[in-house]
Amino acid sequence: MPRREPRRKRERYSVFLNMPYDSAFENLYLAYIAGLSAFGLIPRATLEIPTSRRRLERILSLIEDCTYSIHDLSRVQLDRQAPRVPRFNMPFELGLAVAHAFIHRQTSWYVCETVRYRANKSLSDLDGTDVRIHGGTIRGLFGALCDVFVRGTRQPSVQEMNRIYRVLRRNLPRIMRQAGARNPYGARVFQDLIFAARSEQLRLLRGK
């Protein structure tokens, strides 16, 4: 019988980020990284998954590793290109996270949306759950994150999150150029953005 790998210790800083990867979502993608970093959290996403490994297994292990998960259900409409289908990845991963939280009772999951009351129609099983509406704006998203996370010692302000966001936005072309990437949704660009956000956040803590 094959020996099972020892279970990794739950990463107390990690947040599983479940969101769409398209060009229209780029601002919010950066805003999620900036906002979570301001709270001292480390975003994790399926972007990190190497193609050699079975994707579903890796998603499950990512969910298992993370203490929190945020699910953005902003893309429920049909795709513009044929075949015209909605994206099921986000609701599917939300289902995995909810099931994991229900069984293990160690993780917390939160849902964000762009349009108010749309989730009640598209995913009525969530009735009774607080769906945070960011309205597709960066400021709205920072407000939603402030609503979800509370730090005991030092609560970051929206202005601090904005500052981190501006640093990411300014340095994104350079980071992409160094990684040889055409879009920001690559594993290396994602990691570099997290480091950039963390570095800026530590600078803020030092009062520079």
Binding site: G40, V150, I175
Partner: protein
């Protein structure tokens, strides 16, 4: 599930971040260098005007008066 999450852990360092992501600290330091490059360079414009332009125009006006 509670309505909000209270974070009690301290802010992670760059080394801890690298550890969580499973990459080397050297990568973090490379990004640090990218960020610092921007602050080292001189700002090209202030208040929408190119550097020294205001001073140059003022000097020209002053020379005409004289």
């Amino acid at each position: 599930m509670s309505r909000y999450a209270t974070i009690k852990t301290p802010f992670p360092t760059l080394a801890e971040t690298a550890d969580v992501l499973g990459v080397s600290v050297a990568q973090a330091q490379r990004i640090e260098r990218i960020l610092n490059e921007r602050t080292r360079g001189r700002r090209l414009k202030t208040n929408g005007r190119l550097r020294k332009r205001v001073a140059r125009h003022a000097a020209k006006r002053a020379s005409k008066k004289a």
